[in-house]
Symmetry: C2
Subunit: 567 residues, 2 copies
Amino acid sequence: MNSFQPTVESLPPTSVTYRLRLPQGLPVHKQPLNPLSFLLRAAQVYPNRLAIAHPDVQFPVYYSYATWAQRIQNLAYALIQAGIQPGDRVAVIAPNSPVIAEAHHGVLAARAIICPINTRLTPAEVAYILDHSGSKLIIVDHEYVRLVQGVKTPVIVSNDSGRVGDSYEAFLSSGRHFSQERGWLGLEWEPNEDSPAALCYTSGTTGRPKGVITTLRGSYLAAVANAYETKMSMESVYLWILPMFHACGWTYPWAVTLACAGQITLRTVSYPLIWNHLLNSGVTHYCGAPTVQIGLVSAPEARPLPRPVSAITAGSAPTAQLIGDLEKLGITAVHVYGLTETYGPFTKCYFQPLWKDLSPEERARYLARQGHSFLTAEEARVVYPLKEGENLDSELVDVPRDGKTIGEVVTRGNIAMKEYFQDPEATRKAFRGGHFNSGDLAVIHPDGYISIQDRSKDIIISGGENASSLAIEQELASHPDVLEVSVVARPHPKWGERPMAFVILKKDAVKKWEGKHKDFEADLKRHVKPRLPGFACPEWVKVVDELPKTSTGKIQKMELRKIIAKL
Amino acid sequence: MNSFQPTVESLPPTSVTYRLRLPQGLPVHKQPLNPLSFLLRAAQVYPNRLAIAHPDVQFPVYYSYATWAQRIQNLAYALIQAGIQPGDRVAVIAPNSPVIAEAHHGVLAARAIICPINTRLTPAEVAYILDHSGSKLIIVDHEYVRLVQGVKTPVIVSNDSGRVGDSYEAFLSSGRHFSQERGWLGLEWEPNEDSPAALCYTSGTTGRPKGVITTLRGSYLAAVANAYETKMSMESVYLWILPMFHACGWTYPWAVTLACAGQITLRTVSYPLIWNHLLNSGVTHYCGAPTVQIGLVSAPEARPLPRPVSAITAGSAPTAQLIGDLEKLGITAVHVYGLTETYGPFTKCYFQPLWKDLSPEERARYLARQGHSFLTAEEARVVYPLKEGENLDSELVDVPRDGKTIGEVVTRGNIAMKEYFQDPEATRKAFRGGHFNSGDLAVIHPDGYISIQDRSKDIIISGGENASSLAIEQELASHPDVLEVSVVARPHPKWGERPMAFVILKKDAVKKWEGKHKDFEADLKRHVKPRLPGFACPEWVKVVDELPKTSTGKIQKMELRKIIAKL
């Protein structure tokens, strides 16, 4: 096994105190939870271990935990010097790279709130978020400076070089100078664990994006769950494919340090680079939506891996085909489910020993479920959705565990968001019945596993029957020539709505069906007919070259609906 | 690999709601931490998995998580029916068995405080604890009824049978009946995570035992650390060797359920039984003091194991010999350190990859260190001890990281106790400088690892030099004929004190040195002379057949001092 072992400078591990000044009056038996703990502990126990590698750029950088912790300390001081006060928002616009990873720790060390912004947004959208969040400072990667042109908020530009002359590096140096070598003890530990850690904006497919406030306590406990559930340890290497700006990278910036593991950042989703690291850098864990996983298994570089790798997958359920393809390469799919409002994952499809004996197809059907709540999460329930005119305070009623009755997934507890920032009305609606209402529709099976059927807006109502677009997609994807598929409702004069499928063919099937898309359509319909109720069989099939996707790899059904509107 | 797979009844997993009634007004984003969460989650995700096995008794029992959770729910209702109010203490006097494991969950589910009592105490000592704790009810195992004869507190006797006719079982049944099938929702979740979970009495080698109050939040977070640090997972099987009455079994009653793992209880420390389970029951984890581990590797049943096993060891540092002996059997020693006041372990000797290349002797020297603080624990510091006349509020000052200067180990944070029950004076002393003062003397090495030298009272002051009895024992134990050794101070006319060693010989060495103990003494002194400074070389050596030990396997140096006083 080739392991990623770049030279890291050999620091004397002895001189640093990894402890912040504690607020007055803290009881001996209480420490406010804060995910910054994990970095400090990792730097103390494994100062010389590789904390973060950023290899595929003009000036690669490799930081040991000792060096990295020092950079983060410098960042905290630099923010304070720049006037950042406890509770202030600091915006970060950057691809996966050390700067955004550092901000996840350094902003917290300054007792401020990190506001990571999606790099795919338009300048107008970014301006809205900067304004709404009231961000006091923006740290921006050089590639995205255009997104903040003309904004009045002070901007620190990172050239992502780690070198003298880079203004982000100058910012860090100024922080070090400002610190007067007071070290960690010159910074104060946030006294209230219920204080916000991050402000992440939802993609906002309808209306304005909403700002999700998560807390220090929640981030700590969510990171514990993610590290524990995926068995990350000191021996692990985490590869950044999921954008860190998406729900704080599902708390992995903290979970990786909790495990004292290493992490590798890639600016873009490049399959040749990903495969290079999977094969040669000792990678053991990565997160990604199924669409990314499909790209990964279909890449020409794909080959069986020399060590077990966990692919943490969410966004939609992995298909049997995908799970099988991953397994052949030595990659185990870990199916989790969550939203920005739940710090990323809060359920996992827990594997049952009995499933080992099932056929791959059957096993995949079980693995496609969203499962049960994570360690440190409270119960994921499926309840009857809000009825017209019903009070938001009415007690929630669970749907029967029959695997049929569709309800809404709700949860509550330490890894549910605190609120939508400055939007009490949206918060109130989302918190119906004292739970966070996910907007995702699901059934609960007799064995207690929850299974998402659809986003409430994606359900297809055909002749009064509810058809889950996800369930239809699962069946279509089992056709041997289908690479990827998305199903949405299309208005129908008789049935109200009927399903329409958009399909990407596998590379070798493109030629096979060239000029014969009608034949393919018939073949696909024949394939799913015995597998789906009549009302769920797609009425129309359209072969496409690509599907519209968000930056996080989610298919934008809204865009497909626009296409349909024009048909 | 033979795995422990007894038949468990196949329960319909669907019908139970594993959720307690929540207190009014709880915010959506907060759930008071409570280790009861873990059992509820395990029962929900793995209802049919083996939760607990109690095999080596007349009536063996094997409970699935679903069944076990039901028994625990019954216990909670039975306690409430018996008049137990939130915050009341419930005493438990039992060897490792389902009854004491159940009490760790059921007492918490009734919002009461578990007070586990050491079964080796005298009736007078038990009476003191019952009185001091103000216990409202006693659950006692049939073997220990003599310890509570004549007490006025109500007693529930368990015959450890799991059968009809057993009064403990009748107690559970009455609870079920009282519940009127309200299930978990008929019980209320403790609203305050800072409420006490347990009241454990220290062994009290000097004066009266002190009652250590630990909290729900602390128990939750300590269990997280123990499960994570020892990599316990759903596949794990934990064998109970450590008594559960000792600091709540280092939080393992909760950590095992967190992992959804199985546990096996043994009433006594019997090496043939232990070896049977190590070989045939799929055991992956157990805890025990080095003296227990020595017994284990020396047992005639010892042979290499078919799977990796983690031996979590504390109480004193494992010797190189012991670590090597364990390794030969496929057992990895995980060296942790803690006290009742820190929920059991709060530091671990984290393995550094570089140590792999060291000789076994050198490696063991590193592994004998107490290391760094656990995940969820705050920093373990070594500070100058309280000086004569110094104020308890003075700021603590760390000793230099030179591996030489002896100071006191202190810590603080979420896995430090809340207080000594009804003893503000002792609490105040123990909380000098806003930290829990352990009373253990240690150095801190240049690489930041702490290394216990001695309990403050066990240090030997010879000619003004501080000699660590533990360090001397480590060197004596490296003599090939030494099985176990303990060193204490003996008054000396010239030097003030000098070390005296009590040695148990290995079985085959007993004959070799029969009638030649003087020769052995000379040989042992020759062995350690080049390894220790002159003031630390033992002046006297006494070969003994056994060493006085506490129920948890700790050597009672107090008893050795009594022997010396009579010399």
